[in-house]
Each structure stands twice: as C-alpha cells, then as structure tokens.
Symmetry: C2
Subunit: 326 residues, 2 copies
C-alpha cells in the first residue's frame, strides 16, 4: 500500500490512520472474525477508494471523520469481495487463500455480513444522514447489478450498453461515492462536489475496464489470480464483447468465438481457446480504447478543477490506474 | 399473519401497512430480486418482531416512522434467514423452497445483502442516529454469535452458559431491539424504554428455547421443516444439553448420547437415535422449564408496566409464544 502512494504527499500517513480504524472496527471478541479480517487488511490492498476519498477531501476542509468514512468504504468493498469469492468459489484473493477457503463458506458469508454491519455502524456514527443513505443505496445497486450479471452469464449477445450499465453499478458508483463523500463532508460547494463525483465515475469506469482486460491479458504473478477467472464464471466482459463484434464483422477464422459459444456451455479447456482468440483479435485494443476514453474524460474534468495539490494527485492517480498491471 | 394477530386490536391493520412498506422497499427493477423477495413476504411469516415494535410504540406516541422501522426489522430478520439457509443448505423455508434453492447460492447471498442494505437505507432515513447505530450493532452481534455457533458445532461439552449467551446474541437481542426502538421512537421515558427492552430480551430467550425444543419435539407439518434440522447441522441446543447432563448423572442406558457423540462426527441416521434419546430423557422437560422461567420473567416485567391495551397485548403475546407449535 505505502509504496503505491509514496509520491502522494500526506496520503500514505492518512491511509495508515485509515488502516488503524479498520483494524479497530473489525476487531471482535470472536477469534475467527479477528483473525479472518486481520488477514484481509494486512497492507496488501491498495486502498484505492479510501485514497480517493482522502484526496477529494482536500478540495474542502479535511476532517477527522474523513478517516473513518474512508475506512467505511474499504470495509464495504472488502465485504463484497468476501461474498464474491464465496459465490465464485475463487480459491485465492490477492495471492492469499480466500476467506471461505480458510474458514468455510458459512463463516465467510457471516464475516461479509459482519463487515457490512460494521461499515453501517461507522456510517451512522460519523456521516451525515444523507451520506449514510447514499452508502446504503450504493450497496443495493451493487447487489442488484451483481444479480443482473449472474443472469447474464454465458450470454454472448450482451450489448455494450448493458455491459457499461453493469460496471457502472457494480464498480464505478463506489468510486463516485468516494469522491462525493470526500468532497461533501469537507463542505466543498455543491458544484465542486458534483464535478468530483463525475471524476470518480469516469475513473471507476476506466478502472473496471482495465480489470476486465487484465483477466485476458494480465501477468498472473502481478494480478495474483489466474487468467480467465471471469471467463470461467461465464462473465462476458468488454474484451470479449469487442472481439465478438469484430469477428461478426470479418468472419475469416476457422475456429471462432461464436462457434465455441454456440454450445450451451463452454468448458475450462475452451476458456484457454477463448483467451487466445480474444488476444489475437482486436478485442483487447478496442477495450483499451474505451478505458482511454473514460480516462480522458476524467482528466478533462480534473483539469477544470481548482489548481493545487489535490488536483495534481487526482491527475496522477488517474493516469497511473490506466497503465496498471495489477 | 392476520389470523395470528386477530385478537390484538389494531395490530393486523398496522402490520398490513408494514408489509406494504416491505414490498415497496424491497422492490427493484431487477426481476430476480423482485420475484425472489416478493415470495418471502407473502404473508406466511408471523411478523413477530414488527408486531412487538408496534405494540411497544403504544407505550408512547405511535408515529409514522414506526411502521417503517418495523419493516426494517423484518427485512433484517429475512436477510439473516436467507443467508442462514444458504450456509445450512436448507432446502425449504416456511414450507416453500428456500431462496437459494430457487435462485442459486450466488443470488441468495446477494439478495440477503440487498435486503440488508435496504434495511440500513430505511434506518438511516427514518430512525434517530442512535437507533441506526443500535441496529448496526445488533447485526454485528448476530453475525458474531452465528460464527461462534459454527465453531461450536458437534461440541457436545457446550456449557449452558455458552448456549444462553449465544441465543441472546443471535435471537433475543433482536426482540429487545424491537421493544427499544418501538418505545424510544415513541418518546417513552428512559426507564420505561429500559423496562421494555428487558421484556423483549426475556420474550426472545423463551422464543429461541421453544424454537430449539420444536426441532426435537415439533409437529413437522406445523413447523414446516423436518425434525432434527439443527441437530443434523451439528448445533447443540438446550434439549440436548439438558439430556446429556441427565445422562451423565444417571448412566443407566446401553445406547447413550455420549456414546454416539464419542465419534468424531455423527451421521444422518444417528440424528434419529439422538432425537429419540432426547425425547425419552428429561431433556425436553428441562428445556421447557427454562422457557417457562424466561416467560415468567417477561410476565413479571410486563405486569409492572403501566396498565392498558399495550400491556395486555404484550402479556397475551408472551403467553401465546410459550405454547406455540410452530
């Protein structure tokens, strides 16, 4: 975590404080909860959402409660990851055994619920009622979008529009909320807060697209999960959507994605073939162009913000996220 | 639901309103969420916790927000049931297929999360910050106790003390919260609110003990789940604890509970034998005596309350819960 933020003045120290709050809040008399959650917040995560919240707080007056709210967002994010790993049966997370792999599905579901409740506890204690409501709404939306995503598994006719709507709901909205909470609790003006919300949204869209690209083209050692993880679960993401569109337009290959997907289901071996076809098509490049588009939009919004250290940090973060390898 | 409350003046109508709020709040653009949750709130549940909240609101000034908060408690309760059914792999709930059996584990986990977030949304919108915090704390405690319960599975040396501590955390606290929220949001005095909290606690303890007895001695058609459900999951509850204590004291049977449990694990066939042994021992009677003790405590607290319709209803409900068959 620290190395990621080392050229962001003040942020590593602030995130240390956030990590302390997370440790305190997720502590429990129950040894399983304490151990299980301690392993999750051991400095392996980048704490992106808290970082974004703290940077945007710099557009107004940074307050004590910002640290708590940043902790709150990270705990919410972790709760969704724990539940995701249970339902996806992913054996690892950030190179470590997933919570359910260590403590069983039963405890993993409950630990996710515990974290969610601790996150709401912090929100009710420290944020304005409006922001507590906003937080609860974002969680509802994330769940709704994940359920929608489930019903879209293996649906290779997924439209671009539906894909973008989904990554907005399951990912970009949380980035947008981080910026909103950071700015609004720092008493930034309504206009400035709205502008920062848009920055968060665009960063979040680019972030998720890159995530989806890394599932096809990442270096497994850096990403710390196997390639094709989403694909094996039947998740149709942007690189594949773009590759399918290009294939439909050209139709000059013997082994085609459409051919593979014409079966009811594809197997684990197929996923290797699909990754190869997507890599060799222009799918990755086309997906990358979308990530660049959202990044450019974020940068445009950022450059219209008041000049200063927070603006510089936002710009640096946005550019760095576009070229990330993990 | 309506028939259960028919002799509680005003409560059936109030609960109709609560059901309407639940339907509205849990509605979603997402058809899976809408259908999945609609099936849960179809009038099959008794709405005990909302009922308790509405009765206790009668000790002060009943307000519009009471209906919303009652909905909130029921949604929280349902969220925990959905997650419980996923992790216990229970095929049915209230005689209907469980959510995970219809929509898969994936969607069931997410629907539980969705309901939790909707519950927090209502809490942040309608309750005092103090009560939103109390609600979040109760959820943390419930999760903590369920995790503790998991680590105690098949542990036949479970102490009475640990059992009571667990049912307090996983069950009685929610009844206590219902009374607390009902009274405090109705501006009842602090002393009266504390008294009602104790009433709720004692009702909740008796309720859970009866629940645990019904797993051994219930009529499956009335309970709408198979006998020995908890036992098969390795849950050691009061009837078994009492039966084990009596067996240890007498030791005059060839087939003993200790003998069965001396193995690392017991199988599904064993659970029939265990149920028989517990039924033939004084375990059920001893467990029932505890339920009666908590009921008597609740009644004592109730009779010290200001006389009137709310007090009469509390007394009637408490006595009815002791003799329930489902």
């Amino acid at each position: 975590m620290t190395s990621y933020w080392q050229d962001f003045p003040g942020i590593p120290e602030a995130l240390e404080r956030v990590s302390g709050i997370i440790r305190e809040t997720s502590a429990s008399d129950n040894p399983i909860i304490s151990q299980g959650l301690a392993g999750l917040f051991d400095g392996q995560g980048k704490l992106l959402r808290p970082g974004l919240l703290l940077i945007t707080a710099g557009f107004g007056k940074l307050q004590d409660k910002h640290y708590t709210l940043a902790a709150c967002l990270e705990m919410l994010h972790m709760a969704t990851l724990i539940h995701d790993d249970v339902i996806d049966e992913s054996p690892t997370r950030r190179g470590q055994p997933a919570v359910h792999a260590r403590y069983g599905n039963r405890n993993a579901v409950l630990m996710g619920d515990y974290l969610l409740s601790r996150c709401f506890l912090l929100a009710s204690e420290y944020t304005s009622a409006d922001n507590a409501v906003a937080l609860a709404r974002v969680i509802s939306t994330i769940c709704g979008m994940e359920i929608e995503q489930n019903s879209d598994r293996f649906r290779t006719n997924l439209s671009l529009r539906r894909y973008f709507r989904k990554i907005m709901g399951k990912s970009a909205m949380l980035f947008s909320l981080a910026c909103h909470v950071g700015a609004s609790e720092a008493k930034a003006s309504r206009a400035l807060t709205a502008q920062l919300r848009r920055v968060g949204y665009n960063i979040g869209m680019a972030f998720q697209i890159i995530d989806d690209i890394l599932d096809y083209a990442g270096n497994p050692a850096a990403v710390r999960k196997p390639l094709g993880n989403d694909l094996k679960e039947g998740l149709i993401t942007l690189p594949l959507i773009c590759a399918l569109r290009q294939e439909d337009a050209s139709q000059n290959s013997a082994v085609t994605l459409r051919g593979i997907f014409s079966a009811d289901h594809f197997s684990a071996e197929d996923s290797g073939t699909v990754i190869g076809l997507v890599r060799n098509s222009g799918g990755l490049k086309a997906a990358r162009a979308y990530a660049e588009k959202y990044t450019a939009r974020a940068i445009r919004e950022i450059l219209a913000l008041p000049a200063g250290n927070p603006r510089d940090m936002l710009e640096r973060l946005t550019r760095r996220l576009l070229v990330r390898e993990a």
